[in-house]
């Protein structure tokens, strides 16, 4: 963390009080941190894939170690990190489509399972916009989509992170899917 950056714990605190500027700043700081971490992992491992879940876990450990006791618990951190990860992933898909492997890193399985995943940054962008709308009404629903759909966490993991039962996570996921389907149906490819 650069000295010029306010601590992430401070930013999360302010963002939770509804300070928009801090929320924006938090997004930027986390985005850079995750991106840097992804690159560092690649440099260290010499492999071409990084998994989003590993990235987020490591980011948490990294930052918690740097900022010490005042750092928020994993659940509070994830709420923000998962949203940032969504942005990183969409940018990544976009870049990958724009420049085929032009020095960018590969996130897990985008390189190996392209046929099976949504390979269209516009569709992802629409999902993302709908999620931001959903977040205004029910933030916990959009958070679960970030963790599940974008980052690839399982229901069990999400339940642990968010501190609710797996059943609740499952129900919220179903609700969020219904909401998104309703908002996006007109634009979905058949």
């Amino acid at each position: 963390m650069q000295a010029t950056n306010p601590e992430i714990s401070t930013l999360i605190g302010l963002a939770e009080q509804g300070d928009e500027a801090s929320a924006d700043k938090l997004f930027t700081v986390l985005y850079r941190a995750l991106h840097r971490l992804a690159k560092r992992q690649l440099a260290r491992q010499g492999v071409v894939t990084v998994s989003a879940t590993t990235l987020i876990h490591e980011a948490y450990l990294d930052m918690a170690a740097q900022e010490g006791r005042s750092f928020p618990d994993r659940g509070r951190f994830m709420a923000y990190a998962a949203r940032v990860m969504r942005g990183l992933i969409i940018d990544h898909v976009r870049n990958r489509l724009a420049i085929k492997r032009g020095g960018q890193f590969e996130l897990t399985s985008l390189s190996t399972n392209v046929a099976d995943v949504i390979d269209d940054d516009q569709e992802l962008t629409r999902i993302s916009q709908a999620l931001d709308e959903l977040a205004h009404t029910d933030n916990s629903l959009s958070q679960i989509v970030d963790l599940k759909f974008f980052c690839g966490f399982s229901f069990g993991e999400i339940a642990e992170m968010v501190g609710v039962s797996e059943r609740t996570v499952h129900r919220k996921w179903e609700k969020a899917r219904i909401y998104l389907y309703r908002s996006l149906r007109a634009d979905l490819p058949l």
């Binding site: 260290r44 491992q45 010499g46 492999v47 894939t49 998994s51 989003a52 879940t53 590993t54 490591e58 450990l61 992933i89 898909v93 996130l107 897990t108 399985s109 985008l110 190996t112 399972n113 099976d116 995943v117 949504i118 992802l124 999902i127 709308e133 205004h136 009404t137 029910d138 989509v145 599940k148 759909f149 974008f150 980052c151 690839g152 966490f153 399982s154 229901f155 069990g156 993991e157 129900r171 179903e174 609700k175 899917r177 219904i178 909401y179 998104l180 389907y181 309703r182 908002s183 149906r185 979905l188």
Partner: protein
Amino acid sequence: MSTLTPDQWQEVSPYLDEVLEIDPENRAAWLRSLGERDARLASMVQSLLDDKLQLEQRGFLERPVLSAGPRLTGQRVGAYTLISQIGQGGMGSVWLARRSDGRFERQAAVKFVNFALTGPATEERFKREGTILGRLTHPHIAALMDAGISTDGSPYLVLEYVGGGIDLTGPFFQSLGTNGRSCGTCHVASDGMSVSAGDVQQRFLLTQGNDPIFRTVDGSNCDHNIDVSTFQGRYQAYSLLRTRA
């Protein structure tokens, strides 16, 4: 029906919660009873449930954007439940896992070979890898905790998860799981060439696994590509290790 307004969503949300908790076969009755009290609300819930059916048929958001190959997350392998994929190479994948029986909190790494490659030779190789790893003990080398064949027939190794330390998908571990035409210095060093596991261990320690001797080109083969099934090959592999040491 068009997109719900935030107000409509707020209104229908608790009913949706309720109906989703009910077994599908009892939902019709629940809806009828709601309809008697509030027909408009009931039809709103009904149309959302119709959407649910549709989106399920279309597999909407079914697979994560960054899908991890075969959907193994949450599956049990021996005494372990797979949490998330932490690495993938040409020869297989490595998963973060935790014990399912709750006996230890400790996390583990489960390593699979590529299903496509699975065959008697692969199993043999895995057995060998298990043997070699079982002998190696060092803080930087993950200890072998378990090994076996999963219910779908894939051989696997369970390694201690060394978070933040050495990467289990790194060159060293890739080199330990290559195919039959592999380099003796990398893969069967402890096996009949008077090169002990200790030698390999030390070598790895000195080079942090960055020595090409431990590196693989594509995750499925080491740089040397020596056929150690012949005497010539084993000799070549052994010389290589000695000269590089």
